[in-house]
Symmetry: C2
């Protein structure tokens, strides 16, 4: 493939994209229209309110199986009935020219189907992470977008968040010396009775939902792709929450140049942090990937210092939601395109396989 | 064996031992005499000065291959020439009734030989960690002490340090809920040209020297013994320091009840910390195992608090050095007897094997 060990081409582009895209955006050009598919908590509490703040995008359509939700959010966001869809009428989005982008925010196992149908309807797709529940599904999504000549982007919002970008930049700058160790931990004590705990809907447990932040962070902090993965699972199968999915799966990633990442993924304790240590010091975020409130520290030359960045013009959600329209306008690939999601999917499969087979997996 | 999954019997005994031993120590009874074998930096800067502060022990003899060191420290500590030994005359310690205990502070590969010869000379032995460079050597040391009817203790000083004991107690108390994750990291950027980097003397790299603190801490914090180990090594063999020993080896330990430890061992970056996370919060030390200056934090019920303990009457070195005389007087086994060192040796061998074979090792 030739790409596996390459540095992630787009790192740091997120912040720069605003300026570039802004210049590229023609004066008076209309904002691109998003259809949001799935009106769950993340969609209604995080994404839809942020679309109001976008420079290049706006909310234009809603897709839900629950009529009451269409009524409620249709009224709240001024979306006419002509722009409401359910899962039976979904494919008719192809006939709606106000919809440019479909944002899939469904349970994981539905991502592939609804992303592919959106591509087939001639729409660009933004899809929540994990992009799918298997590599095969991810490949099919990429193929469908390619066939349609439309873009596919995965919702890795941390790649648009200033502290995360600053951490990437700090590692790249050489300020830490040679990076030797990444520690990334993500987890929360999960409440019972939700789709995340139902394997047919989630495709897996903590790794699919929250551990993917440790995985993705390890990769964007390393700036390279791992060569080997080893994982250990720990799940109390007597806990009613964990009948079909794993609770905890901690994994090690070996990157080129003697860099190892130790990663935590948990559904039974609270974690949200990472740290990169090099021969000259470290940079760490705690919390690292929340919706807001990141805090950053460095220790370089023996001195621990908190790093405070100016409040950005657009928060991570708005940057992400504006990035896809900018890429559509400029013809560039999103910094978190389908291929980026597929790299995580390959690693997720390898992590599960390592834990199951009690051996390290060499990545092809 | 039946002991593998037992909680460590002696946990928490360290601090209590002072009071118990003090009472047991007969009024006017002479202090037991230590011979220090190997007058390197740890011996002369850390151990010998602390023997002056001991309640039940004193420095009585010196063993070194360097006559100038015998002259210098003999004069400094008032040790007569009759109590100076070199490696040719070492076995004559058997004829010196002032020597009760031999403290072996030599390069790792010499531990077994000099500990066994001390046992054969009828002396009790305190031996630096790692106890040896293989399980076979460790077993031979235990057998020799047993045959002599004398004690064998390993120099795990953190088991006598108040913050470490408090961390153990915090986990045991249930304040963290069910412990799910231990993170332990130890390392330092090693200077070139020393015996630690010479495999015939050290028996291994960072794991033998500093990673053993992560390993031992994981075990004393868990209070149980691991069932499975998985490890990943990262060594730049072009670095002249690492021609014969490993730089970094990070390992995972699976303990009973879904507890996983993620451990770091490094000769190329600075680390000295651990944290135990449970369903209700965490306890962490940073630094965790230095000679002095431990700092402790807990987060229980969402609130991060620094924990400050009163200065103990005896520091960790003095507690450790007094513990063996107390055990000799009372007939009790040291809380860190030879068997404790052997448990670490078994795990060290399993960690190296896991990294070499790229697979998890189930512990017998």
């Amino acid at each position: 493939m030739g790409t596996r060990r390459d540095v992630l081409g787009g790192i740091g582009v997120g912040l720069a994209a605003g300026a570039l895209g802004g210049a590229a955006w023609a004066q008076g050009k209309r904002k691109l229209g998003y259809a949001v598919v799935g009106l769950g908590s993340y969609a209604v509490n995080q994404i839809m309110p942020r679309l109001k703040d976008c420079e290049f995008a706006e909310l234009k359509a809603l897709v839900s199986g629950t009529p009451a939700k269409l009524e409620k959010y249709g009224a709240e966001y001024g979306i006419p009935k002509t722009h409401w869809y359910n899962y039976q009428t979904y494919d008719r989005i192809r006939d709606n020219p106000d919809i440019d982008i479909v944002y899939v925010i469904l349970p994981n196992s539905l991502h592939a189907e609804y992303a592919i149908r959106a591509s087939q309807a001639g729409k660009h797709v933004l899809c929540e992470k994990p992009m799918a529940t298997s590599v095969a599904e991810g490949q099919a999504m990429i193929a469908a977008a390619k066939k349609a000549g439309k873009k596919l982007m995965i919702g890795y919002r941390s790649r648009f968040e200033p502290y995360n970008l600053k951490a990437i930049e700090t590692v790249k700058s050489g300020a830490l010396g040679k990076p030797t160790l990444i520690f990334a931990e993500h987890g929360f004590p999960i409440s019972p009775n939700q789709w995340r705990l139902d394997r047919p809907l989630s495709g897996g447990g903590s790794l699919m939902d929250i551990g993917i932040y440790s995985l993705n962070a390890a990769r964007y902090l390393a700036g390279t792709e791992p060569l080997e993965v080893s994982a250990m699972e720990a799940t109390d199968r007597k806990d009613p929450r964990f009948k079909t999915v794993e609770d905890r799966i901690d994994f090690q990633l070996r990157f080129p140049n003697q860099l190892i990442a130790n990663c935590v993924s948990s559904y039974s304790s609270a974690h949200n942090a990472y740290r990169v240590t090099g021969s000259k010091g470290w940079v760490g975020l705690d919390p690292a990937t929340p919706y807001a409130g990141q805090q950053m520290w460095t220790r370089i030359g023996g001195k621990v210092e908190q790093v405070e960045l100016p409040k950005p013009a657009k928060n991570q959600f708005v940057e992400m939601l504006d990035h896809l329209p900018e890429c559509i306008a400029s013809g560039r690939e999103p910094i978190v395109a389908g291929e980026e999601g597929l790299r995580d999917m390959r690693l997720i499969e390898a992590i599960y396989r390592s834990a199951r087979e009690h051996r390290a997996i060499t990545l092809a």
